[in-house]
Every structure is written in structure tokens, then in C-alpha cells.
């Protein structure tokens, strides 16, 4: 398929992890997830909407998150996502893996 390059500068696979991590803070809708990631990274990481929604679908298909319809702060119908127990497990595994990888990269680069 002739899709464009990933619109995010994130390492591949990290978006899923970030979304899951964000959701540990509670039920959030898609926009809030994107905003939160941006804020928490001091505007360094921007989540492109074009990647966010496919990612959410993927996570839901895998059973890591569950979406349900609710009412947003501005009183509109929005879909809120919740981390499932499987999602939490997966997040832990991913976090550990990520820590290993970044640690290794840091050692090579001489940061440590």
C-alpha cells in the first residue's frame, strides 16, 4: 500500500506503549491521549492523528484497551478508552523491553 511515511518521529512501536502508559492515568478519549502525550513530553513528541486512530484500533483488536462511549467535559459524546488487565501486563513487558534497549543504546553512545 502506498501509505506515507510514519508521521511521528517516535521509534516504531513506541506509540502503542505511550498510549498504554497514558491510559494508566484513567479513562481518556483520543484527543486527550494525544494532548497528554504532547504535554508530558514538553511538546517534544507530537502524536499525529493519522497514526493515533489506527493505533487505537490495533490496541483494541489485541484486547489491550477497551473503548466505550461517554460524555466529554464539554458535554459531547466521545469514546473513552480504558486499559485492560491484559493491556497492563503488555505495558509492563514493553516497558521492560524498552528500558533494556534504550539502556543498551545509551551505553554505546557513551551517555551512561
Amino acid at each position: 500500500m502506498g501509505t506515507e511515511k510514519p508521521k511521528t518521529d517516535l521509534l516504531p512501536g513506541t506509540l502503542d506503549m505511550l498510549v498504554l502508559k497514558t491510559l494508566t492515568r484513567g479513562h481518556l478519549h483520543g484527543y486527550a491521549i494525544a494532548q497528554l502525550i504532547q504535554q508530558l513530553s514538553d511538546d517534544l513528541l507530537r502524536v499525529e492523528e493519522g497514526s493515533l486512530y489506527p493505533a487505537l484500533q490495533r490496541l483494541e483488536l489485541n484486547g489491550w484497551i477497551e473503548g466505550e462511549w461517554g460524555v466529554s467535559a464539554n458535554n459531547r459524546r466521545a469514546r473513552f478508552y480504558r486499559l485492560t488487565s491484559y493491556g497492563r501486563k503488555h505495558l509492563n513487558a514493553e516497558t521492560a523491553r524498552y528500558r533494556q534497549v534504550t539502556g543498551a543504546v545509551a551505553r554505546i553512545m557513551g551517555f551512561a
Binding site: G50, Y53, Q57, N62, G63
Partner: protein
């Protein structure tokens, strides 16, 4: 990883698929919310509402594509691809309506035949018998005949292998006469032991089974009866109130105690071809014991016991019973699983049919492959274009297979209709002497089979063309007019290979069908010992019990006299047993002869009147036949058949000898052997006693031989006999030819189906030849044009192409003949009077195939010879 398990993922996918129309709408609503929120934030930063909205939309990108991608995540790729391929396939089908019709028709006929045969095989061989735990039921035969009541009781008492034994007594078709309300009618009622239904695990649908008391009376005056479901529906219009009512059977009141369920079809299991109307008690008493070997026995194995262990036990028990009761008939028990006894006889024929239909399906596949290939030739450019546009090899392969499977599934839809019609027709072949035929139907199993057959057919006939697609070199095909390339030559090879295999397969079917057809004709040609043409039979049992032989004889006189006086009547006589009817047998010996008990000659017993031999067409070989003067007062006489004469008095004249049985009878005549058991089997020993000298018979059949077809005399005979017995049921006036037809019906069934398959195969093979030759002519129009322009004559061209056709046919024929020769030796007992390598069949079928091939090839050849060279050369 629980949540990621493929099953749960699949379930979530499925849910998405179910909600697939709803989901994108929800997702788009979710995204709208996102855009809205984003726009609001921008407005908060001081940007105008319109600009903010536009910016948000821009930032969000192409929403439709996002929706697509989301869908893509959920519904796996293959599913949408499948839909696309199917769409494509159906569009293609509509475009090539002719091709589609043809393929659907051929596949439909093939699949229809397959599912029909599968249904028959399923009903007769695969499906368990309709009884409780049928695999524990065992058939206990005395060699292959019946057992004496006393022996049965002893076996039941002493054996350890069976939890119980049950059985049914011998009976004749139409033995009981139903009178009273409604038309008088002859019923076939089977006497069964009290525990018969319990042993089989069959409960009456209404009412109850027989009580112990009901099974202790006299056999000839049964106190109670159970009705078969079919008879209850037919005669009493399914009225449940008939239970508890009294019927008049043989002028005695009989209480209807119950109706059996429709699922219990006694006839189709135990007596195929003979419907059973009612069941009466079979008392295990001295009275029934005196009747000799009269019982068919079944047993239910105890847990742990096997047929083999039971056989060993019964062989031993038989010896003990034999020595303790020398006055009884001996028994040589032969045990077999009931299922095997019921359908073992027909299983070779069914296996043959299944094999034949398998070969037929291969021909169908080869034929469709060829058609698909030819059509592919026209679609080369389409395929090449797809490849050029980036369709992967696998993707194209899948598309081709989807197309062929879709086609064969359409064929299967037609096949199912044909299958339903076929199984219906087969289930209604009442007169066919095949077990369980009535239970043939297209059920769930057959449905699954049909779907599998359709998919398999689709894959099989689509695979070769699909693989061919891959060999198309893109550049080569897209260049215009690249014919006769190496790829083309290879395709020609595939075409020819398919045609050769079609012819070879058709050849094996033709040879098989031919051999069985010849066997069938041989069987029909047999000297039966009697002449069925222009002869008919009718039950004329008297309405009352005779008090004396004089009274009986005057009844006989009256019946015969009245019948013989009818115009067009050539002969009339009475008999207790019709051909293929009873198997009542006695041990017999000549006066002064002593045989060891286990090698004592046995003979079938017949009781006939004067005129019987003439009316049945049984030839008198020596001495005289019975006359009206052989009466109670004259010397007891008997007539033996040639086999019995040879057995008792080898090398001597049987006339004038005395047989010791029945108080001693003088042999006054010898008649020809009659094939009484089966057409293919030579009749055994037979002894005839004059009806006027005995009351020892259980049925009275009037056999007439007429000048005109006997059906025309039915009304006359009826009218003539009415004054003697106004209650005489006249429903059945059976021609002896009917009896023969029924006896050959299994063979007829096999031959009809097989001949149908062979004919279809021949048609398909000729279509295959036609398709290939005309394809190759079309491909080579230019070449032919050039040849003709260079002076080749039309006849020259014709003979070249025709020779090629015959070459293919000969190759297929050679292969087919070789395979047939190997396969036909497995036909075994199905053949009669022909050898598996019967040269007449092989040569005849070979010639037929060559002729058909030549004709099929000639039609396109004629077209080729009419090609105008100028037109052909200009056309490209």
C-alpha cells in the same frame, strides 16, 4: 498471552464484521469529536472559528483513508480480497454467460451424481442401523438359513455371550387376510418373539408391545397385533384410535395393541423389497417347534463379548444340543454383525458405484480445467495487465481459484437439486430388493459432503489453469500477437494431457459398465427352470379352515375348474411357494438309505397341485406330473427335481423309488431344477408333494399361464372366483416376471446407474476432444491460412488434424484399457458369465470411444478446412 490468543482476536474480528456497517460511522463520529476539540483549542488560542476548523481538518488528514485503515486493521486483508475476487468472478461469469452455463451444468451434474451416490452409501453402509446400540446386535444364522424353535430356546438358555436372543418366524407375503370393514386385503404380518422390539430398543409409537401371555397361544390364532407405521397410515389414515380395536385377520379377531414408529422400518432392514404391514406374536411352543427350521435369530452381545467369542461358544453349544436332541434339526451357527448381514451383500456394488462416481468427478474436473484453460487464453492480457499493475503471483493464483470455486459452488447448487430429486427417486424404489433404500435421503452429512465436493472440484479444476497464469511472461503476452510461443506449446501439452486422461477415465467407466451390462444380460438370459412370460400368480387361500382333505380337495377342484374355464387360459395350478419365495427345507432320504446326520441331504419342500408345472413352465424330465387323481385316497406320491434325483439315487432311475419322509412317498416324476434362491445361484434339491394329499402348507397361490398378457385376465379371474369366496382379496395379481424383476433389481440398479455414469463420461470426453481441437484450430488460423495459401488441400489439413485427434484418443484408450484390465479383476462376484478381461466388452467399448472421438474431432476440423486463407492472414 490470553488476550492476544488468536481465537479471542477472531471473536473480536467477527464482532466487528457483524457490526461492520455501524463501526465506521462510530469511528467517524469519534474522529469528528477529535477535530471539534482541536478546533476549540485553536479558537482558545485566538484563531477565528473558520480558520481553526480548517486547520484542524488539515491536521487530521484524510479521514476516509483513516476509516479505511481502521477497517483494514479489523477485517483481515483476505476477507476483503475475497469479496473483491468474488465480485470479479461473478462479473466474469455474467460476461461469459455461455461458458458459465456450461461449467455450472457439468459441475452440477457431476456433483449431483456424487451427492446422490454418497447419500445411498451413507444410508446403506455408513449410517448405523436405526436401533439402540446397533453395533452390539448380531445376526445368528443356521449356515444361511433358519433355526428350529427348540434349538433357539436352548441356545438362549445356555449361552453366555448375549444378554438376550430374539427372533422372528418365517412368514409368507400376504399370509394374513384382513376382512371386516373396508376392502378385504392380504397383509404381510411377521411373527416376532415377545422380546424382539425390546432387544432392538424400539418402542411402539402408540400402545404397547406384546405381553408374555400373548406370546403363549397358538401361532395360527394370534390374539394381538402391532401395526407398522406405513400400514397404519395407509389403511387407517393414521388414526390413533385403532389401538385397542379388534381387526379380523384370517377370520379371527385380533386386538391391535400398538403402532410402531416410522423410524422402525423392519422391511427395509430384514426383508428389502417386501413391505411389512403388521407384527404378530411368535410363540415359542411345541407347536412352532414342530414346524422345523423357522426362525431368524438376532442377539444383543453382553458387554465384553465379541462376535468371534460368541461364534466359538455357539459352535460348541450347537454340538451339545445336537447330541442331546437328535430328534431336532441340527444347527451350524454362523454369526455376523447385524449391519454386515444387512448391507454386506450390497457393499461391493456400492463401493463400485462410489469409485465410478469418483472417476466421473475426475473427468468433470479435467473437462472444466480444459475449458478454463481455453478461456484463460482469451484472458492472457487481462492477467498480464494485473501482474504489471502489481498484483502478486499468489494474489492472481487466489483470484483464479476463487473464480473456479465460485463456479463449482454454483454447480453444487444445481447438484443439490439433482441430488434431492435423485435420492427421492431412489428411496421410492420399493420393488428393489436392496436394504435400507427407503432411508436414502439428502441429509446433513450429504450437505457437508456436497460442499466439500464443490470446493474440492473448484480447487482441482482451477489449480492447473491458475498455475498456468504464473507462467505467462508479462512482456511476452502484452506484446501483440505473440502466438505459438514456447508458453503456448506448453499449454497445448497441458490441454492434450487433460484430454488423454479424460478419455482414459471414460474408458475405464465404459469398460466397467459394459462388463456389468453383459453380466446383467447373461443373468436375464439364464434358464430359470420356469418360464415367467405370460404367467401370473394370485393368493387364493380359502376363507375357512378345512375340516377334511375332501373338503379341501373340492375347494381346489372348484378353483382350478373355474379358472381353467376362462377364455385365454392355457394352464392353471396351485402352489404353496412361488419362485424366490420360501426356504422351507427337510432332511430327505430314499428308502433304506442312512446318512450321517451332519451330511444328510436336505431338500426344499413344495406343495403343488396338478397343472402347476404347466402353468409355471417347469419342464417334466421323466415320469408323470401330478393329476387330479392324486388324492387323499390314492397312493402317496412325490415329484423330485433333477438335483434331488441325482443326490438320492445317483446313476439310477428315480422313478418308482420311495422317499421315506412324510410316511413314505413314491417318486412318480422328475422335473427340471428351478432357480429358487437367486438367479445367479443354481437351485438346490426340491421335492414336490401333491396338494390334494396333504394339508401341510401355509399358503395357496394360484398360478395361471395365459395366451394374452396376464394383466388382462385379472378381472376375469376375480369374477370367476368370487362365488367361491366373496371375501377373496384381489389386490395383487403378480406376474412371475415381477418376481424375476425383483430378484434382479439390485443388479439392475447397479447397471442403470453405472451405464448413466459411463454415458455422461463419454459425453464429457467427447466435449473435451471437441473443445481442444477447436481451440487448437482457432489458435492456428494463421498457420492454417498460410498452409492453404501455399497449396495445402483441405483434405490434407482435415486428415492431419483428424489424425492428431485419433492419436490423442488412442493414447487415452491405451492407458484406459490397461487401467481397466487391472481394475476389472476387482469386480469379482458382480460379474456373471463374463471374464474380467472379456474381449467383446473391451473391443466394443474401445471402438465406441474411437468413433465418438473421431466425430467430436471432425466438427472443428470441417470448420478449419473452410478457412479462407486471405481472411485468415488479414485478420491479424
Amino acid at each position: 498471552m490470553g488476550a492476544g490468543s488468536s481465537w479471542k482476536r477472531f471473536r473480536r474480528r467477527l464482532r466487528y464484521w457483524v457490526e461492520r456497517s455501524e463501526r465506521p460511522r462510530l469511528l467517524s463520529e469519534e474522529m469528528e469529536f477529535h477535530i471539534e476539540s482541536m478546533a476549540q483549542d485553536l479558537v482558545g488560542q485566538g484563531i477565528s472559528e473558520r480558520d481553526a476548523r480548517a486547520a484542524a481538518h488539515r491536521k487530521f488528514g484524510n479521514m476516509t483513508q483513516q476509516l479505511e485503515e481502521a477497517r483494514f486493521t479489523w477485517i483481515t486483508r483476505w476477507m476483503s480480497d475475497l469479496a473483491q475476487d468474488l465480485h470479479h468472478a461473478f462479473r466474469g461469469m455474467r460476461r461469459d454467460a455461455g461458458f458459465t452455463t456450461f461449467v455450472v451444468l457439468i459441475a452440477g451434474l457431476g456433483i449431483g451424481a456424487s451427492s446422490t451416490i454418497f447419500s445411498v452409501v451413507n444410508a446403506l453402509l455408513l449410517r448405523p442401523l436405526p436401533f439402540h446400540a446397533p453395533d452390539r446386535l448380531v445376526w445368528i444364522a443356521n449356515v444361511e438359513w433358519s433355526t428350529q424353535v427348540g434349538v433357539f430356546l436352548d441356545l438362549r438358555e445356555r449361552n453366555q455371550s448375549f444378554s438376550n436372543l430374539a427372533g422372528f418366524g418365517v412368514y409368507g407375503v400376504g399370509d394374513s387376510k384382513l376382512t371386516g370393514t373396508g376392502e378385504p386385503e392380504r397383509l404381510t404380518s411377521v411373527p416376532v418373539t415377545q422380546n424382539f422390539f425390546t432387544l432392538l430398543g424400539v418402542q411402539p409409537m402408540i400402545g404397547r408391545s406384546f405381553t408374555v401371555e400373548e406370546c403363549q397361544g397358538s401361532f395360527s390364532t394370534p390374539p394381538a397385533a402391532l401395526l407398522s407405521h406405513g400400514f397404519w397410515q395407509r389403511r387407517f389414515a393414521s388414526d390413533p384410535a385403532v389401538v385397542g380395536r379388534k381387526l379380523t385377520l384370517n377370520n379371527k379377531p385380533v386386538m391391535v395393541v400398538g403402532v410402531l414408529p416410522a423410524s422402525f422400518d423392519f422391511a427395509s432392514v430384514f426383508t428389502p423389497g417386501t413391505p411389512v404391514d403388521a407384527f404378530i406374536p411368535w410363540p415359542l411352543t411345541d407347536e412352532t417347534n414342530r414346524r422345523g427350521n423357522t426362525m431368524k435369530v438376532i442377539g444383543r452381545l453382553r458387554p465384553g463379548a465379541t462376535v468371534q467369542s460368541a461364534q466359538a461358544e455357539f459352535t460348541l453349544l450347537a454340538k451339545q444340543i445336537w447330541s442331546q436332541h437328535p430328534e431336532w434339526n441340527g444347527i451350524s451357527p454362523r454369526l455376523s454383525p447385524l449391519k454386515q448381514h444387512v448391507s454386506g451383500r450390497v457393499s461391493p456394488a456400492l463401493m463400485l458405484l462410489a469409485g465410478a462416481v469418483g472417476v466421473l468427478m475426475l473427468i468433470v474436473c479435467a473437462n472444466l480445467s480444459n475449458l478454463q484453460l481455453a478461456r484463460l487464453g482469451a484472458r492472457q492480457k487481462e492477467m498480464a495487465m494485473r501482474t504489471a499493475l502489481g498484483a502478486g503471483r499468489l494474489r492472481l493464483l487466489r483470484q483464479m481459484l476463487t473464480e473456479s470455486v465460485a463456479l463449482s459452488c454454483c454447480g453444487a447448487a444445481l447438484g443439490l437439486i439433482l441430488g434431492v430429486a435423485g435420492t427421492r427417486a431412489i428411496a421410492h424404489l420399493d420393488a428393489f430388493n436392496l436394504p435400507l433404500l427407503a432411508s436414502v435421503r439428502l441429509d446433513g452429512d450429504a450437505l457437508v459432503f456436497t460442499v466439500l465436493a464443490a470446493v474440492l472440484t473448484g480447487v482441482l479444476f482451477g489449480l492447473l489453469p491458475a498455475l498456468q497464469v504464473q507462467s505467462f511472461a508479462v512482456g511476452e503476452v502484452l506484446k501483440d500477437g505473440s502466438r505459438g510461443s514456447s508458453g503456448g506449446r506448453r499449454r497445448a501439452w497441458v490441454h492434450n494431457g487433460l484430454v488423454v486422461s479424460e478419455i482414459a477415465f471414460a474408458c475405464t467407466l465404459l469398460v466397467g459398465a459394459g462388463l456389468l451390462m453383459r453380466s446383467f444380460l447373461r443373468v436375464l438370459d439364464l434358464n430359470l427352470g420356469f418360464q415367467p412370460e405370460r404367467a401370473a400368480a394370485l393368493r387364493v387361500d380359502p376363507g375357512v379352515r378345512f375340516k377334511s382333505l375332501e373338503q379341501q380337495n373340492s375347494y381346489i377342484d372348484e378353483v382350478l375348474q373355474r379358472t381353467r374355464s376362462l377364455p385365454g387360459m392355457r394352464a392353471a395350478g396351485l402352489t404353496d411357494v412361488l419362485p424366490f419365495g420360501g426356504d422351507r427345507a427337510w432332511q430327505v432320504s430314499g428308502e433304506g438309505q442312512v446318512y450321517p446326520k451332519d451330511r444328510h441331504p436336505e431338500s426344499f419342500m413344495r406343495v403343488v397341485s396338478d397343472g402347476y408345472f404347466e402353468s409355471a413352465g417347469i419342464r417334466l424330465q421323466a415320469g408323470r406330473g401330478f393329476t387330479e387323481r392324486d388324492r387323499a385316497s390314492s397312493e402317496p406320491v412325490a415329484i423330485v427335481n433333477e438335483t434331488l434325483a441325482r443326490t438320492l439315487w445317483p446313476g439310477q432311475d428315480a422313478i418308482g423309488q420311495i422317499v421315506t419322509q412324510d410316511g413314505g412317498r413314491r417318486v412318480v416324476g422328475v422335473v427340471a431344477d428351478v432357480r429358487h434362491e437367486a438367479l445367479e445361484k443354481a437351485g438346490g434339491s426340491e421335492m414336490y408333494r401333491p396338494m390334494r394329499q396333504t394339508a401341510d402348507y401355509s399358503a395357496m397361490n394360484l398360478v395361471v399361464r395365459t395366451v394374452l398378457p396376464p394383466e388382462r385376465l385379472a378381472a376375469g379371474v376375480r369374477a370367476a372366483l368370487r362365488p367361491i369366496d366373496p371375501n377373496l382379496p384381489m389386490s395383487e395379481f403378480k406376474t412371475l416376471q415381477d418376481l424375476v424383476d425383483q430378484a434382479v433389481s439390485p443388479r439392475r440398479f447397479l447397471v442403470l446407474l453405472l451405464a448413466g455414469f459411463a454415458g455422461f463420461a463419454l459425453l464429457l470426453a467427447s466435449l473435451g476432444i471437441y473443445a481442444v481441437i477447436s481451440y487448437s484450430v482457432n489458435q492456428r488460423v494463421q498457420e492454417i491460412g498460410i498452409r492453404m495459401a501455399l497449396g495445402a488441400s483441405a483434405a490434407d489439413l482435415q486428415s492431419r488434424i483428424l489424425l492428431r485427434t485419433l492419436g490423442l484418443a488412442a493414447l487415452g484408450l491405451a492407458l484406459g484399457m490397461a487401467v481397466s484390465r487391472v481394475l476389472t479383476s476387482a469386480l469379482g462376484n458382480l460379474l456373471f458369465g463374463v471374464t474380467p478381461g472379456d474381449p467383446v466388452t473391451f473391443i466394443g467399448m474401445g471402438a465406441l470411444l474411437i468413433v465418438v472421438a473421431a466425430v467430436a474431432g471432425y466438427i472443428p476440423v470441417r470448420r478449419a478446412s473452410r478457412i479462407d486463407p486471405m481472411v485468415a492472414l488479414r485478420s491479424s
